[in-house]
């Protein structure tokens, strides 16, 4: 093996190690979703089966936990993306008193430890005697998702050619038509990305949710509770299910963008 050969391939090998390191745990989770554990814990390989996948909801409580998580994630990501898009438009387009402060506050949840967010929210809800449950989870999720949505949509708006909107108005479109026909289609990819990101962040959030969930059990909380007494392989099934859906959605988004870019 010559020195040139090493030089040429050292980066490749290094990258392979790196991706292996990142993906190996996920591969293990995926593999163990097909395991047939003898005891209550799914830690040693005992044999292959499809039954965990066909009986994904065989564990009591798992189905309602998954449903709650999906419901919250769906509503929270739509609300957060809607709010975030409007906030991004305001922050990029208009100079107003307190814009810098708003920018800072929007960024704050991204940099605050989740445990602090969760504890503060819980204090807030208790002080206002808000019953904990579906609504408090939703409020908390919208709150931390908004920041991600704002950041994602803002990035797209910064490079937006304002002359396009002026051109639309010049051609007879009023403010609303201009937004519908020109602004929205052009920032749609960013909005879609924000939606996917918010969904992914909401659906697997544990720390904040644990504080504000009260009696309700989302999927991450179910896993946490179950892990103390047992780790049924169905947890792996749901986890990998979410993972595959998320990755597929993102790939679809990328493919769609590329195809659109090629056609254009």
């Amino acid at each position: 093996m010559s020195l040139a050969f090493v030089r040429r391939h050292v980066l490749t090998v290094w990258s392979l190690f790196f991706f292996g390191y990142l993906l190996l745990p996920i591969a293990v989770v995926a593999a163990f979703s097909f395991n047939q554990p003898r005891g209550r814990f799914n830690f040693t390989w005992e044999g292959f089966t499809w039954s965990n996948w066909t009986h994904w909801n065989a564990i009591p409580g798992i189905q309602s936990a998954v449903e709650l998580s999906l419901e919250i994630a769906l509503i929270a990501s739509i609300l957060a993306t809607g709010l975030g898009t409007l906030m991004a438009l305001a922050l990029v387009r208009y100079g107003f008193r307190g814009r810098a402060t708003t920018n800072f506050i929007v960024f704050l949840p991204l940099s605050t430890p989740e445990i602090v967010l969760g504890a503060s929210l819980l204090t807030l809800f208790l002080n206002f005697s808000t019953p904990l449950g579906f609504w408090t989870i939703l409020i908390a999720h919208v709150m931390f998702c908004v920041s991600f949505a704002v950041v994602t949509v803002k990035a797209r708006l910064v490079g937006f050619d304002r002359h396009l909107e002026e051109a639309a108005m010049d051609l007879g479109a009023n403010e609303w038509t201009t937004f519908r026909k020109v602004t929205l289609p052009l920032i749609a990819p960013a909005i879609l990305a924000a939606l996917l990101l918010c969904f992914a962040i909401s659906v697997d959030d544990f720390v904040v949710t644990y504080f504000v969930a009260g009696p309700r059990v989302t999927f991450p909380i179910f896993v946490w509770g179950a892990a103390r007494v047992a780790t049924p392989p169905q947890i792996n099934v749901i986890g990998i299910g979410f993972f595959v859906i998320a990755v597929t959605a993102m790939l679809a988004n990328v493919v769609l963008q590329n195809r659109r870019a090629q056609r254009a």
Binding site: E166, A167, A168, D170, L171, G172, K181, V182, L186, A264
Partner: protein
Amino acid sequence: MTAVTPVADGAPATAEYDIRLIGLTKRFDDVVAVDNISLDIDRGHFFALLGPSGCGKTTTLRMIGGFEEPSEGRIELGGVDVARLPPYKRDVNTVFQSYALFPHLSIFENVAFGLKRRGIKGGDLRKRVGDALELVGLAGLDRRKPRQLSGGQQQRIALARALVNRPRVLLLDEPLGALDLKLRKEMQLELKRIQHEVGITFVHVTHDQEEAMTMADRIVIMNGGHIEQVGEPSELYEQPRTPFVAGFLGVSNLLSGTIVGDDRVKLQDGTEVRVPTAALAGRQGNVQIGVRPEKLRIGGGEENSLSGTVAESAYIGVSTQYILDTPAGPVTVYVQNDRLGAQVANGERLTLGWSPDCTFVVDAQEDT
């Protein structure tokens, strides 16, 4: 979708001016971009707003288009004040410097955008879009996206998209700035042809004096938020009224002097020159006289003359440019190379002559 009818549509079509700007002013914070300008733009003319960058020409255009709200003043479009109306209620259309074609829409949809807002559809829509694309020589490209077109083609589409609405006035914001020289020359002639064909008033903003001279019937020269002079290209070139216009449009020799008679100015070195009487009307004291380099002849035989030594010369094929040191100041001369071996060496002494008719008069420089 309800049709948005431009308000100015209902205005009497007999108004002799398409646009009247009255005391128009635009301030950005404490900077005055456009300072109290008034201007009448006649129907069917090709107008150029010409000036260096930062002179307020683009701001003026954007106020006519409705993208900037004037701080003061009126903008009359066919007799109706539109200064406070949004762009979509004005019967003007704009060709933007960056073209601003909608990247997510096909060429057809781009050109049809304005017509659709007015509720035109079906066969009528297709015919009018087709006609507009034909007018700019790009029929058959209607299914492409803007990105698939070259810069020159995009420029034509931007023009078609604006013209298809048959606006009262078409505004052009340096639309040729991004094109290479050859394409720019082509488009200059093309724009002029299209303007003749459609007969719509064009208001064209540019900083390129040659472009303005080539295309416009009338040129407005702006500087520092003011209008310096308005006129036909030849009028501005032959009789500039301010030192700025004389220097901005082509090359001028400006020589300081003092008025000593109805038609006489005494230069600093004592030479007296004759100028048209009209050029001195209403003036007194110190002035500058101007004469274009190509109006100067080597040798005597003209009523006005000045002598000097050749300081520099440059042979540029069709002519030779000399800079002479004269007692009245440096003077540039263009001499046609109509004979072989007629070059004059540096250091030689020459006498220059010119006709009083070719002399113009502008204000004295502030510092003299």
